[in-house]
Symmetry: C2
Subunit: 274 residues, 2 copies
Amino acid sequence: MQPQKIAIIAGNGSLPHTLAHKITHDGGQVFIVAFEGQTAPETVQGVDPIWMRLRATKKIIDALKARDIQDLVMIGALRRPSLKELKPDLKTLEFFSKYALRLTGDDGLLQALKEFLEQEEGFRLHGFHKFMPEMLAPAGILGKAKPTPAEHADISKGLEVLRAIAPFDIGQAVIVQQGFVLGIEGAEGTDELLKRCGALKRAGSGAVLVKYCKTQQDRDLDMPTIGPETVENALDAGICGIAIQAGSTLIADIERVIRIADSHKIFIIGIDGN
Amino acid sequence: MQPQKIAIIAGNGSLPHTLAHKITHDGGQVFIVAFEGQTAPETVQGVDPIWMRLRATKKIIDALKARDIQDLVMIGALRRPSLKELKPDLKTLEFFSKYALRLTGDDGLLQALKEFLEQEEGFRLHGFHKFMPEMLAPAGILGKAKPTPAEHADISKGLEVLRAIAPFDIGQAVIVQQGFVLGIEGAEGTDELLKRCGALKRAGSGAVLVKYCKTQQDRDLDMPTIGPETVENALDAGICGIAIQAGSTLIADIERVIRIADSHKIFIIGIDGN
């Protein structure tokens, strides 16, 4: 039984909109908490959004409670606010003063936020994939192109690197070319990683993007995601293929993802988990 | 006994010039192999440089042999040539066809190059620090500022990350703030890492640059280096301190490095090696 009244805490990208559409279509009721400068305008089309400033924690919580909402889905990345944007309200400060010691990484932050929302404020957080499991990456090759043996070796190397850094709550993507690690994702995100590595690519073939979940990552809170834009950015960077974690990566607009990949002969492969 | 006739394969930065000056001052004879668009013009002041296109391997080797030079020092980073610049000569192709399988990283490339130059071509490669050991970073705090306990914890985390990725021949630097890894150096180099992490810095204190040697790195070939520019880039990025490996990091213009660090109250600390 899925909850019938859900608030979507909507980051950027198309997934918040997809989910809102799905829930409405299934007869549920959706509220959107949207963030200025972050949530895509399409997300709030046809719904009554609650526009918020990021970190206006009390206002968000009050708005949700006023609508008698207990169930939340957080989906779409939210850009880390700059110093200038960061004018936290009292509730945010309360949250930070209580959890500050544990906020040592993205996972730490999200876990603490989940605990705060569930244990202190009585909400329930749900993973996006609970509502739309069909959007999880399947195992195996998704389009027409297949990795060469050298590209398979690059994927393996990328997985090894991601496993080595998993304990440190860093990024979840690397780019490997001809056995050489061009770049590791830190706090900058996959798109910035792609941009940077495009300029660093060596002569010759290859360059594979490998995205794989950090070990401690709570998949309800932060699921690796790719979409048409990822594939286009990969193309711009001269990447020849993308390896993602089957069952633990969301693919936004999979038809278009495969169409773009096929027309440029780059492979997309779902790697079986852990 | 140091060789009296030395060719400096001169990358960018001030170190090739410093070394040339030192060898000449000690009564030795110096040749400079300079690369267009890479070697700093100061490097070749007062000497007769051999200007070369990167990867014109045969011409470089012939020029060295014509001058009866057996001893080489490679110092200063050389930017990876772009696809457009990459028009290798036959000797370069010979080198690549023979060693291609091992060229899986910077270390692989440098090791193969060393083997090629020493075993096939009869040269001897020397480390810069053999000539100027006084330029190696000492252990302990170099200027006036000291790391806080939180910054010490960030240094430790940075060292852990660098140890975890050491087997993969990736970068040799990370930036850590408040226990959170902002960025890991890949093929882009420390200056690009600093630029990127400046934009990713969180609110609040901290952000430490940690530079530490990769395990398999041959220090004769590729020694981590910092200089005044590193400190200035770190300042621009909002970094509050720099940790380097004592005895295995070169500091170019240490007086100026310390002067800049002191006047902006950022710390520089040499961490005792492995």
